[in-house]
Amino acid sequence: MGDLMEPERGHLPSKITRRTALGVLAGTGAAAVLSGCGASDNRTTLRWWSPQAAPDQLKSYKARIAAFEAANPGIRVVFEPTSDEGYPAQFASAFAAKQLPNIVTHLPSFAAQNYYAEGLLEPVDDVIKAIGSAQFLDGTNDIYRTADNQHCALAIGNTAVDMLWYRKDLLQAAGIAAPPRTWDELRRAAQATQKPGLYGAALPYGMNAMTSLIFIGFIHRAGGQIFTPDLGVAIDSQPTYDALEFYRSMREFCPAGASNFSWGESLTAFVSGATATGIYGGRVLANVAAQNPAIADAISCTVYPTMSAAIPAWTFNDFPCLMIPKGAPHLAETKAFAAALYQPEFYIQQLHAAPGHVLPVLKSVPTDPRYQANTLIARYPAEIDLMTRTAATGHNLGQETSAHRPNLKANEIIASNAIAELVQRVVLNNEAPRPAVAATAKRLAELMRA
């Protein structure tokens, strides 16, 4: 062997011609292909998509998948992350190419209603039945009920997305004893805490879904709405002008880069200590613990202030859900895996991967000692409890209030950035609110007709 491989003055080894070498390469390649074929995985593959894919969450998913695969040797589950901003495009191309995932989790309720209305989702009533509908918190799955009296999805969690996070130490140092309840109080708090190197707020002004979703909440917190309960366009109203005026007045208390903020940037601004207040869900807790533990004792949250104390709070809950695309293969196996995600030990593990962010929808979990055993859940009981209660009464553009019909165009309205564009035109371009709102109303009407 040694002398076979002995090279001869820069040429191929003396006993190996180019032809032999090529033959060996071809043979090796063929052998590799054949061995690959021989070792092919004959198991049924289920593809699982979710935008919730932080490292700890991935770890919990892997544990769930491993246990499910061990119990079902003929099935293999592959997790594929998607994103909150990118899922409409990924979904559209997956459906168009007929390369569907079997199961999709943590997308908002309005996405499920939208896709179901287009005939793209399987009803999941038998999954709910398999888990036990009585196991869910009362009314949790109502938002997924469809016109044909089925369920287009089922809740996998709740999230109070737009809580007001604040630094107790900074508010106290500024002479503010209690967290703000109204917009005037919030603006005063932002003004009082702002100083070189520290901003008062971390509101988003970017051309993206976050700005649209967050600003919808501000319109409601001014007493307005985007659509009437019968889905007529209602955005062109005084509360919208009030919300725009307040949102514009807060710009000076946000970092310069807030004009480009989306979820990640807004979250990081508060977690890093660059702002005295933030707007986000419970993920703040885990991120502060991991990235800036020095402020862990100084943070708390409350419901986001309204224009006046007389206006009730309105919290954005995206109602993260589980849905099953129609046309994906292996429906029975998919439904079995879907139900398995709710087995308490694994469900709690998923919740612990994002403590306080994905809140429980199963009745037994909030009081389950295994759920409460989590360090962050034990450390912030008041905040977790508040977010749990607030999220349960939350809404989103898919159904702005309990009186509203489901809005099947909510997905396209968010993806169009029409509301984010309104914010940017008024706040960044300093355009007059009335014509800008009128143009947005017209755009929304077009989207509803499309």
């Binding site: 409409p88 495009a89 004009s259 480009n260």
Partner: protein, 302 residues
């Protein structure tokens, strides 16, 4: 083998040759038809329909998409934005690319290493490059603002990506950084073929470095620069990922180029027919550049 098959009585030699020619060219025609003609015709056909993207189901609407597209101000504004972006980033690419090629043509220390490293931005994934640049431009943690503040150039962080014209200038700079190596490769290759005798003659005539550049180098680079500009114009015109990831088209519509509208129509609003109409319109604009390129190539071949 084809010759044997074609040797049938009644077929003239010319006809046999013609058939053989058709047979030989058929695979190329089939492949080009499958990868160019079919998608092109599909896009044109889609642009006359209203199609829901996820299901690809739709109906014929004739010229309605084009009427809506041309009637709305969005198309023309985006076309102007696309033209500004293309002209701006292309100018920077050419200036930086030619300057760098001239530098790398000199006998400098570590020239081979420098020639390899200069290609780095071109090979780097756009997603990675954009992530790095977004952090560099970040107002809270970005080194650009920190360096400028430390140097006393600015008092407060500059909003590089969220205000105009900063956002457009920023993406032009990033685009130039990402794509100038292409100019370097092409220009450097040409520089190495310019006869040294031309420079010697210029020196004898008393030409300084600047005169030698404008009177010798630049005329010699003219052909290659023309091709580079034409190609890069087409590529920059349809650039999507860099702009989408840097600004998403904002602030407002300040950096919203035509490819971003195509993407939003197709996958955000699920209106594949309208997206196809935008794409076909873009293609028609680019066709002008393509015709110029073909004319140039034909002239060069002649």
């Amino acid at each position: 083998m084809p010759d044997l098959a074609l040797q049938r009585p009644g077929l003239s030699r010319e006809r046999r040759d013609a058939l053989l020619g058709l047979l030989l060219i058929a695979p190329t025609v089939l492949v080009l038809g499958a990868v160019i003609v079919y998608p092109l015709l599909s896009a044109i056909a889609l642009s006359f329909q209203s199609v829901y993207t996820p299901t690809l189901e739709g109906h014929w609407v004739g010229l309605a998409n084009y009427r809506e597209l041309l009637g709305a101000g969005g198309f023309w504004a985006a076309l102007l934005t696309t033209a500004i972006w293309t002209a701006g980033t292309l100018t920077l690419q050419i200036l930086i690319g030619v300057a760098m090629a001239l530098l790398l043509h000199q006998n400098i220390l570590f020239r081979s290493l420098a020639r390899s490293l200069v290609l780095f931005p071109y090979f780097l994934s756009t997603v990675v490059a954009v992530l790095v640049w977004r952090w560099l431009f970040n107002d809270l943690y970005g080194i650009v603002n920190h360096a400028l503040m430390a140097a006393g150039v600015i008092d407060a962080p500059v909003n590089w990506l969220g205000a105009m014209p900063n956002a457009m200038l920023s993406i032009m700079v990033v685009g130039a950084w990402k794509f100038f190596p292409f100019v370097v490769i092409a220009v450097l290759a040409r520089l190495q073929t310019i006869p040294e005798a031309l420079y010697e003659a210029a020196r004898i005539d008393g030409a300084g470095p600047i005169s030698r550049f404008f009177d010798v180098t630049l005329p010699q680079l003219r052909d290659v620069l023309t091709i580079v500009i034409l190609l890069r114009t087409v590529w920059d015109f349809k650039e999507f990922d860099l702009i989408y990831l840097m600004t998403g088209g904002g602030p407002v519509n300040g950096t919203r180029t035509l490819p971003l509208i195509v993407y939003q129509q197709a996958f955000g609003l699920n209106q594949m027919g309208m997206a196809a109409a935008y794409a076909v319109s873009m293609m028609l604009v680019m066709l002008v550049f393509m015709l110029a390129y073909l004319q140039r190539a034909r002239k060069a071949a002649a």
